[in-house]
């Protein structure tokens, strides 16, 4: 009997010990625990998804969601690197391997880590969205349809950048979430069709207005307009009528207006600007990242030639300068910029800097852009910060005005008079002279977009759409790694698929030319 008791005792001990194997984290929570602790948890998960376009990770600016460098790999930093430094208006001087190839538009290959950063970030955001859609299927949430609309909008936004930058990938959705066998490759047209249908669907789910930083109807309509604007590049079939009609929806239906002063859109308090349709939020205290506007502001400053506190900053990284591909559209020298009636011409730091960029690796060659700053517009006496509190205007109304005009000029229908009016609205807000109907050409609009939108992550797409990115018909300083610019190959309209992604999914193939 004693023996039996002993065995029983040992067995009980063993069973209770074995139960200990079901350990629980002390901080992390299961979905059920999270919802019990915070009934509003879904908006916290949603916040994380929005944040995927600005933050590097959930544990401060040194943390990274993907296994790439937390400082270098965030989404917005990638967009500036890939869209602006590869184009005519902005150059970086750091000479980092990978970044240098972007800034000179030469020697692009699948090993360049900056392509990997963007591809990884896009394909981190998409499954996070898919996961959240699945979560929504199992819980009770207020406004579930709207939340689903927001999640699908963010996923479509991530896919949009995949279409624009890489042109191919896999179609990961909530339905194949968790599948471990590699998904098949899909073409640019298939991705385009998917994003179009998703955005058309979420347009009906999203509210007319939403709390700050969250997507509303106008955000989806704006993204549709941008998708249609570039449809010919993406699919071979132009969609300017649709582009015009969606730009018009944004302009007439969203209630947004141009900010009275251009600079309001790029200052520390730009969340008060009536013009911004969809921002990427930054906050010097609670939303820190080396890849939000901090990269733009700090990267464009250097205490050697500028006074950091003029812009509310405490750090100058001495990296980015505009080139005459941008400020040359205003004037032929520093004095001309200062004398211009166009306020946008004043947003370059000229003191101690040369107009021409003889060496892109030399800080004082070229004028830094001072368009973005931490300093608030309305209350400019705030403290100086090392991280930026300026939100990034990913979509803003002036862009919709210029999209309408370009779509009109390119045969998308609409009214020529309205197109002219919109362009002049944008110009007169900045103090530039109005143009006449005969001056309104596709080339003029491309230049106007540079004056208005450079450093806002659209320049490369704009040049490609206008046939001016690759080839030698239009050159800019250091295009093709020569001072005055030279032709670059046609396959540079797409970036290469990163080596790592090709290895991780053997179904993926490289873009032609790489």
């Amino acid at each position: 009997m004693k023996k039996i008791l002993l065995i029983f005792f040992v067995a009980t001990l063993a069973v209770s010990c074995v139960d200990d194997l079901n350990t629980k984290p002390e901080i992390d929570l299961t979905l059920e625990e999270l919802l019990k602790q915070d009934p509003n948890a879904v908006s916290g998960i949603l916040s994380r998804l929005y944040g995927s376009f600005a933050l590097s990770g959930a544990d401060g600016p040194g943390s990274s969601d993907i296994d790439d460098d937390a400082g270098e790999s965030p989404f917005l930093r990638g967009i500036v690197n890939l869209q602006d430094f590869t184009a005519d208006g902005l150059k970086n001087r750091w000479g980092d391997d990978g970044l240098d190839q972007l800034t000179t538009a030469t020697k692009w290959d699948e090993n360049n880590k900056f392509f990997r950063y963007m591809y990884n970030r896009i394909y981190y955001t998409i499954p996070q969205a898919n996961n959240l859609i699945n979560v929504l299927g199992g819980v009770e949430v207020d406004n579930e349809a709207q939340v689903e609309g927001e999640v699908r909008f963010l996923r479509a936004l991530a896919y949009y950048y995949l279409i624009d930058c890489f042109g191919k990938g896999v179609l990961a959705t909530e339905e194949n979430f968790g599948q471990s066998t590699p998904l098949p490759e899909v073409t640019r047209t298939e991705l385009y069709n998917y994003v179009e249908s998703e955005l058309l669907a979420v347009e009906g789910l999203l509210p007319d207005t939403n709390s700050y930083g969250r997507a509303d109807k106008a955000a989806a309509q704006f993204l549709l307009a941008r998708l249609y604007m570039n449809a010919e590049v993406y699919t071979g079939s132009a969609q300017f009528a649709n582009a015009l009609s969606y730009a018009e929806k944004v302009i007439t239906g969203s209630g947004h207006t141009l900010a009275p002063d251009f600079l309001q859109n790029f200052s520390g308090d730009n969340h008060t600007s009536p013009e911004i349709i969809f921002p990427l939020i930054a906050d010097a205290d609670v939303s820190q990242s080396y890849g939000n506007t901090t990269y733009i502001v700090n990267g464009s400053l250097s205490g050697e030639t500028m006074t950091l506190s003029d812009y509310g900053a405490t750090e100058g990284w001495g990296g980015h300068r505009a080139s005459k591909g941008w400020y040359g559209l205003f004037a032929a020298d520093a004095a001309g910029l200062a004398a211009s009636s166009d306020k946008r011409a004043h947003l370059f730091w000229t003191g101690g800097h040369a107009y021409d960029m003889e060496s892109y690796k030399k800080w004082t060659d070229g004028f830094p852009s001072i368009k973005f700053r931490n300093r608030a517009f309305n209350n400019p006496s705030g403290t100086n910060t090392s991280f930026s509190s300026t939100d990034f205007p990913l979509f803003r109304l002036a862009d919709a005005y210029l999209m309408y005009a370009e779509a009109q000029v390119r045969g998308g229908g609409g009214s020529a008079a309205t197109a002219l009016q919109y362009v002049n609205n944008v110009r007169s807000r900045a103090g530039a002279t109005a143009i006449t109907a005969s001056e309104l050409t596709a080339d003029f609009i491309l230049d106007e977009r540079a004056r208005e939108l450079n450093f806002e992550g659209v320049r490369r797409s704009d040049l490609i759409r206008n046939g001016k990115f690759t080839g030698g018909s239009y050159t800019w300083p250091w295009k093709g790694n020569t001072l005055n610019g030279t032709s670059i190959p046609d396959h540079y309209k797409l970036f290469p698929i990163p080596q790592r992604s090709l290895e991780a999914n053997p179904n993926l193939t490289q873009n032609t030319g790489y």
């Binding site: 200990d20 929570l29 915070d38 994380r48 401060g60 296994d67 190839q101 981190y124 996961n131 991780a504």
Partner: protein, 434 residues
């Protein structure tokens, strides 16, 4: 984390000469999901003490002679450093105070998990012989082994878009190792006044990746010192784990490397990743040897350690000649202080972009012999009150013999980027024993 093991072992001993050990252990780890949690790992070993057999005893040669053979399985679960303590279940992380996003909202982050994780299993087959002859003058052992590891736990890239991470820990494949170890100990002199004991050991081990679940190769770290995010090493099929993936450097007639010129291995007219090859970084041969010598009150001992083969990436060759760096922002900074023309830096590698860092020019033979220590001692005659005094002089890391051109080929990770040098330590000692 919770780890539990149940263990059973039986030792059987027949006539003191035939030994059998049987064991089985069941290990469970909270790192793995309930269905994959338990690993059962049996082992068996047999030994034959030949020296106790009369026909060996009759030879009057062997002090000790033993044949051994064994087979066993073990499990590994060393992943918490890479992925924390809860890699198998879905959890939400609460964002930190500086990582909020939407105003007024907490931030909840769905953590990556892999519900299929399980034990990495290693099966080892080994055989060996222990021997001692001529009354302790010569003794040693020889072992051979073959080791197969399956369900290897390593960080693997996630197919893009199929999980909220770019890589995660997974049971990604298999490796095969084989090798041998020899150790020998000789008592060369053993007289009243003096003794000399010489010992040596050597090992050969070769490990090859035999399966990667259909993937040709995956990254294996090896960050190069050109910013962040550039890596040298790969786990590739039929190669040693963590092999360097490099281009074959072209050289001019003077034997100097030509900047950014590589062999077109597949002869397609362009230099792409398809022209890279894999070179094993780790040595197959390692060894050690040493001696202890005593003469009256004087003693001298030393030990050496080394490897034959293996590679080290000399990153100083890559970075020291980098003249195409950006012009410093301020005028006080020095840009490039080394004098290229006296050989202090290499002006040929003037830039580090693109393929340049992946040249096999930077890989050098890492063979070396290091004198780990030399100790000279003297024991004085005991004093009248019985106090004993010993004096000693020791040099640790006394010298290094190698053809490597950098500072030290013995470099964990195989990438020499000016790591903190091993000090040479001189110690003078006086030891009083009252």
């Amino acid at each position: 984390m919770n780890l539990q093991s149940f263990f059973g072992r039986t030792n059987l001993n027949f006539a003191g000469k035939y030994l059998v050990t049987l064991s089985v252990r069941a290990d469970a780890s909270s790192l793995f999901a309930e269905d994959n949690r338990w690993g059962i790992f049996p082992a068996a070993a047999v030994a034959w003490r030949l020296s106790d057999e009369t026909f060996i005893e009759d030879l009057n040669v062997f002090d000790n002679l033993k044949l051994r053979a064994g087979w066993g399985e073990t499990g590994q679960s060393n992943i918490s450093g890479a992925v924390g303590y809860y890699p198998s279940y879905p959890f939400f992380q609460i964002g930190s105070a500086t990582s909020k996003y939407l105003p007024g909202e907490n931030l909840y982050n769905a953590r990556m998990f892999n519900p299929n994780l399980t034990w990495e299993k290693t099966t080892t087959l080994n055989a060996g012989i222990d021997f001692g002859v001529f009354n302790g003058v010569l003794s040693g052992s020889v072992d051979v082994f073959k080791r197969d590891t399956n369900d290897l736990l390593a960080n693997a890239p996630v197919p893009p878009g199929q999980a909220p991470a770019s890589s995660f820990i997974d049971n990604i494949g298999s490796t095969e190792s084989e090798g041998f170890e020899v150790s020998i100990d000789v008592l060369a002199i053993d007289t009243q006044n003096s003794s000399l004991n010489v010992f040596a050991n050597g090992a050969y081990a070769k490990t090859t990746i035999t399966d990667l679940k259909g993937i040709k190769q995956v990254g294996a770290g090896g960050g190069l010192p050109i910013g962040t995010g550039t890596f040298l090493l790969r786990h590739a099929l039929n190669q040693q784990a963590g092999a360097a993936w490099v281009f074959r450097q072209m050289y001019n007639e003077a034997g100097e490397p030509v900047y950014n010129a590589f062999a077109d291995l597949n002869q397609d007219g362009v230099i792409t990743n398809d022209d890279r090859y894999l070179r094993a970084m780790r040595p197959n041969y390692t060894f050690g040897f040493g001696f202890n010598f005593n003469y009256k009150q004087l003693s001298l001992s030393s030990s050496f350690r080394g490897q034959y083969g293996g590679q080290v990436y000399n990153a100083r060759r890559l970075t020291s000649g980098f003249t195409e760096r950006p012009v410093p922002v301020n005028t006080q900074a020095l840009s490039n202080v080394l004098n290229f023309y006296n050989g202090a830096a290499n002006p040929i590698i003037y830039d580090q972009k693109g393929n340049v860092a992946f040249s096999d020019y930077f890989l050098e033979d890492a063979s070396f012999i290091r004198c780990e220590n030399i100790t000279l001692g003297y024991a004085f005659e005991p004093l009248n009150n019985g106090t004993q005094i010993q004096a000693s002089f020791t040099v640790n890391n006394a010298f290094l013999i190698t053809k490597y051109s950098g500072q030290d080929p013995e470099n964990f990770g195989g990438i020499d980027n000016n790591f903190y040098p091993r000090p040479r330590v001189f110690t003078l000692g006086l030891n009083f024993d009252f």
